[in-house]
């Protein structure tokens, strides 16, 4: 009797496993298919694209579409590829991510460990910041940038993304810090450490998982942003997302699908890379509060 029930549950769990893995494989295929089509198309010649099947592998691997997308494709009037815009993006994404993460860490620390009168209200207002759509802030932001004299500059774009991202990063850090026991800060106060010393010597070293979460989130948001980029920058200062759009929409005769695909992959590569490198910390950091220890 006991044996039978064991055998029975073992059989059932095997079937369950089969179904789960089957489903996972299906979902995986569904998400990977577009990437596969993009990659294979980017490596085909135009003739092959026109003649062949969307899903077929390239007959001959050609990298000239990649070279063109990077070096000489036209993005509007000039034809210098994406390379300049790629570095544009890097030049404002990196400071925007670093600064907004630092601000988030600092805000989160002040809001949890040094509760002041009205700190909950401040946090509540920051939370609302997470729900404000990009479009709503465009006009006032343009005015602010104008008033600050940093419209149409890299600095301006950094500023916009820092302001917009601070709400999210603060939320991340604050929720992480509420899981750190108060007594740690009290002990440090008695040891004689001040506000900044406690932050840098004790809190920040404990924050690695949430820093990773914040960096991935912000990097993805800021790198992939199109709207702020198209509104608050112009000409050769534009980010890669805007350049990609221009590249795809610039029609000089034939549509070069392989170049478009290569360009799109180039534009997506950094975020992909960040996920691959830090993805496991991302999941760990997000669940750090839930599973203690």
């Amino acid at each position: 009797m006991a044996d039978m029930s064991v055998a029975h549950t073992a059989g059932a769990s095997k079937l369950g496993r089969f179904i789960i893995y089957g489903l996972l494989a299906l979902v995986c295929l569904y998400y990977l298919m577009p990437l596969f089509v993009m990659l294979s198309t980017s490596l085909k010649s135009l003739d092959e694209i026109r003649a062949g099947n969307l899903l077929s592998l390239p007959g001959e691997f050609r990298t000239d579409a990649w070279v063109k997308a990077w070096d000489s494709a036209c993005t509007g009037v000039q034809c210098e590829g994406l390379k300049g815009f790629f570095w544009n993006s890097v030049s404002f994404v990196v400071p925007a991510v670093v600064i907004s993460t630092m601000i988030g860490a600092f805000n989160g620390y002040a809001l949890t460990m040094y509760r002041f009168r009205g700190s909950d209200l401040v946090f509540g207002m920051l939370m609302i910041g997470c729900f404000i759509p990009f479009q709503v802030v465009l006009l006032p932001m343009a005015q602010t940038l104008g008033a600050l004299g940093i419209a149409n500059s890299t600095l301006g774009l950094v500023f916009v993304h820092v302001v917009y991202g601070a709400a999210f990063t603060t939320l991340f850090f604050r929720n992480y810090y509420v899981t750190i026991p108060d007594e740690l800060v009290k002990a440090a106060k008695i040891d004689g450490a001040g506000f900044l010393r406690i932050f840098f010597s004790i809190i920040l070293p404990l924050s690695v998982p949430i820093i990773v979460v914040s960096v991935i989130w912000q990097f993805t948001q800021v790198w992939n942003d199109f709207l702020f980029g198209v509104v608050f920058s112009s000409g050769d200062r534009q980010p890669i997302t805007v350049a990609l759009n221009n590249l795809v929409n610039t029609s000089t005769g034939v549509k070069e699908y392989n170049v478009d695909m290569a360009a799109a992959i180039i534009a997506a590569l950094p975020t992909l890379l960040v996920y691959i490198v830090a993805g496991k910390y991302f999941v760990r950091g997000l669940t750090a509060g839930a599973v203690k220890g």
């Binding site: 007594e183 009290k186 106060k189 008695i190 040891d191 004689g192 404990l206």
Partner: protein, 370 residues
């Protein structure tokens, strides 16, 4: 000169008064215990002393300075927390020297102090480990080490042993007491364990609902509790409270006890003055288990001893003694009897009551009568 003096300290959170006028005073080198049930404000009082939170009114002095407006680092104190609060990112060595580093103690001096502390607490072999690699007892030692590295004038301990298992707790209790003897620094120690309170303290403040119920030496508090709460809180097993009528016996007064089919009136030595007013009324007669024992011939005839035969409801052997439960005036009363003399449940046995330390409470106000 007092090491710590707390004068009429009050603390309110959002209009809720948590501390309702605390007055305490200890001398240099004294070990003060704050004891009381959960939520009575012990930790709150301790953080007022530490300066982690400010008082609503009143005055706190450490040594000869009023410290109300000083920040924790300027109060010359060190604290051990219930959770130990070791810095997880630092090694044991760094944990101990963090405070020294902030106070800009020279590196060579720091190394010397860490070594001294490590020797005192026998944690030398742990210095390069992180807190996560330590056992509970070892963490506790490191937390103590962090506190003693600075030689403050006052130590604050908030339930430092409550996270340890029973055996380790007893060991560490002894070590803390030895450490205190060796260093001679004043200590304020919070616990809700009354045995810890009795064994460690020079002075005990028993707290309840934000008020000090009684402040005195362990023996005073044990022998002369100010009210029903203190009497019931201190001692294990706790004091028996028997509702009993006061009656005149001879020239004095006594309490009337019924057990089984028998009625006894026990005269209370020295109780004549205060019990007189209660004649004919019911009081709570308090007597500790160890004051009810088996009949001993050598003490027979002494005025404070009374004997009575009572039926046994239950026995609980603890090893050195056996607790015998007998019904008196409808309540189960615990008696502490030598195992060789304890009877069996269902039988009855002769018990001897030592009334010299018995106490009496007003059942309504719960205050001490005599």
């Amino acid at each position: 000169m007092g090491a710590l003096s707390i004068r009429n300290v009050r603390k309110s959170y959002h209009g809720n008064e948590i501390l309702k006028g605390i007055d305490l005073e200890i001398d240099k080198g004294e070990f003060l215990i704050l004891v009381g049930p959960s939520g009575c404000g012990k930790s709150t009082l301790l953080s007022m002393i530490a300066g982690l939170d400010s008082v609503t009114s009143g005055e706190i002095r450490i040594g000869d300075r009023v410290v109300n407006d000083l920040s924790p680092k300027d109060r010359d104190i060190a604290m051990v927390f219930q959770s130990y609060a070791l810095y997880p990112n630092m090694t044991v060595r760094e944990n101990i020297s963090f405070g020294l580093q902030i106070r800009k103690v020279p590196a060579a001096e720091q190394a010397r102090i860490v070594e001294r502390v490590a020797n005192t607490l026998q944690i030398g072999h742990l210095l390069d480990r992180k807190p996560s690699q330590l056992s509970g007892g070892q963490r506790q030692r490191v937390a103590m080490g962090r506190a003693i590295s600075r030689e403050p004038s006052l130590f604050l301990f908030d339930e430092p042993l409550s996270n340890l298992d029973a055996k380790l707790r007893v060991e560490m209790r002894t070590e803390i007491k030895l450490l205190h003897q060796r260093m001679g620094t004043s200590i304020v120690y919070v616990t809700h364990d009354q045995i810890e309170a009795m064994t460690l303290g020079d002075k005990i403040a028993v707290m309840k609902a934000g008020e000090v119920q009684q402040f005195g030496t362990p023996q005073e508090i044990y022998d002369n509790p100010a009210n029903l709460f203190v009497a019931g809180f201190m001692g294990s097993p706790s004091m028996n409270f028997i509702p009993a009528k006061v009656e005149a016996v001879g020239s004095g007064y006594g309490v009337k006890l019924e057990s089984g089919q028998r009625t006894h009136v026990f005269p209370v030595p020295g109780g004549d003055g205060k019990l007189k007013a209660w004649e004919g009324r019911e009081v709570l007669f308090g007597i500790r288990p160890e004051q009810i024992t088996h009949k001993s011939e050598s003490r027979l005839g002494l005025p404070q001893f009374q004997t009575a035969e009572m039926p046994i409801r239950l026995t609980e052997p603890t090893g050195p003694d056996t607790m015998v439960l007998v019904p008196i005036n409808g309540k189960d009363v615990v008696c502490r009897v030598h195992p060789a003399h304890a009877g069996q449940p269902g039988e009855s046995m002769e018990l001897m009551f030592d009334l010299s330390k018995s106490v009496f409470f007003d059942p309504a106000s719960e205050q001490r009568i005599a």
